[in-house]
């Protein structure tokens, strides 16, 4: 069986890779492209640690075949900071101590960014529901929610 040749865009960069049919997008991101920010927690779509966006849509990269990435634009946690400048969400996670072990953090940041792009002023309830597919076993979530709402407020205050 020959491998599939896949052309895609990852964090704005045109990217090509070869993959077998059964590999997930997460497998290729981590093992082939060495983008190891996206984590494998459950590998069944329950924990959200592998969250990425595909054409702007939040998905679990463990539940998508790598070959399905053909022609699509993928954004991962590695595209979030601009050089040494952290995204406001990343800064607020540090300020609010919204992480301990850090395993869930990339997925939470990617998911929170997708929320704020759709809804710049989410309520706490909306934020909690949006992030319900991202499990964190350390923080108890409260600091995460506060960090996201604080980042949203900072982004809204920025001049357009």
């Amino acid at each position: 069986m020959s491998k599939h040749h896949v052309s895609t865009t990852i964090n704005g960069e045109p990217t090509e890779f070869l993959c077998e049919s059964q590999l997930t997008l997460l497998d290729v991101l981590r093992d082939e492209l060495r983008l190891t920010g996206s984590k494998e927690g459950c590998a069944s779509g329950d924990c959200g640690a592998c969250s990425v966006t595909v054409d702007g849509r939040l998905v679990c990269s463990c539940l998508m075949l790598a070959v399905e990435a053909e022609g699509h634009a993928i954004e991962t946690i590695e595209g979030m900071a601009k050089g040494h400048d952290l995204h406001p969400l990343q800064r607020k996670f540090l300020e609010h101590a919204a992480l301990q072990c850090g395993f869930c953090t990339p997925g939470l940041l990617v998911a929170a960014k997708a929320l704020l792009e759709r809804n710049p002023d989410p309520s706490e309830t909306e934020t909690r529901y949006w992030l319900a597919g991202n499990l964190c076993r350390c923080t108890g979530y409260d600091k995460i929610i506060r960090a996201v709402l604080d980042a949203a407020a900072e982004l809204r205050a920025r001049p357009a």
Partner: protein, 288 residues
């Protein structure tokens, strides 16, 4: 070794399914299929990805009726304002499936063909009299959604058939639908009981047509004619609600499992049917 193909027409997809050397699986959103691949529960020789077929993802409206492509994601369904206005129960049911991430990919065709008794969108679709367009080697056929699932994990589709679209009929004035799911938490769980209700009222608020469908209380979703008959010809008075509750409970043939006992599921089915009917009536009253 697993093979993968992404045909660009319905006919090519049917030929790929028909020509597979072993088990072929249709891939839409993949939120169930990839879990099954990983666990080894599904061992296909071929995956046929439908998403390159034009129209397989997307929603169109014509004369008040809707066509929903089989692979349309839950997120797209939730963002479609006209569909939300016409069929709020179908939309809320589709949007209950999994997390935000799952909503980015999960489809109606996948939720139906995975054939879980607890599938959330299925009772709402059946209550809505939705049909699905099935493509196969002899062309296309349109069948009611309730004819697809025959038991847990089993469907009436032949190996070389797949669903290409769902049709939802035009809504008359004073019509409304609702879907409620009972889970012991607020999010990210599988239905203990689901109830979908669709009603049409006359100018005096008397029900002229109703469909009541229960999920997770039998091997397949159950269309409960006696429950609908308890509503038809009445306003939503206590007699109608008591008759609905009784008929819903009588239709239950649930299992005992960690999510609920037989007695518990049966009792909750009556309560969910009442509450869903109440919401469907309220929505019908708002659509003059």
């Amino acid at each position: 070794m697993l093979a993968y193909t992404a045909p660009s027409t319905v006919e090519e997809a049917v030929r790929a399914l028909a020509g597979a050397s072993g088990l072929a699986k249709v891939l839409s959103g993949g939120t169930d299929l990839l879990v099954q691949l990983r666990s080894g529960r599904a061992k296909p020789a071929l995956i046929v990805d439908t998403k390159k077929i034009p129209g397989i993802s997307g929603i169109s409206e014509r004369d008040g009726a809707f066509v929903i492509g089989a692979a349309t994601s839950g997120a797209m369904i939730g963002e479609h304002k006209a569909l939300q206005r016409a069929w709020p129960g179908v939309v809320e049911a589709a949007n209950l499936i999994g997390s935000t991430q799952i909503q980015g990919r999960a489809s109606l065709a996948g939720n139906l063909c995975n054939a879980s008794p607890a599938a959330d969108s299925v009772p709402a679709l059946i209550a809505a009299r939705a049909t699905c367009v099935v493509a196969g080697p002899n062309g296309r056929r349109e069948v009611p959604v309730e004819t697809i699932v025959t038991g847990p994990g089993r469907t009436s589709l032949a190996a070389d058939e797949f669903i290409v679209a769902f049709h939802l009929p035009k809504r008359p004035p004073r019509s409304g639908d609702a879907y409620l799911r009972f889970i012991p938490r607020t999010e990210m769980d599988i239905a203990v009981v689901g109830a979908g209700v669709s009603v049409i009222l006359d100018a005096k608020g008397v029900c002229t047509d109703a469909r009541v469908v229960l999920g997770a209380v039998a091997p397949t979703a159950v269309l409960v004619a006696d429950a609908a008959n308890a509503l038809i010809g009445r306003t939503l008075d206590e007699t109608a609600l008591a008759g609905l509750d009784k008929a819903a409970r009588a239709a239950c043939k649930p299992i005992d499992d960690k999510r609920g006992t037989i007695a518990y599921r049966t009792k909750v089915a009556g309560v969910m049917a009442r509450r869903a009917a109440t919401i469907a009536y309220e929505r019908a009253g708002e659509r003059q």
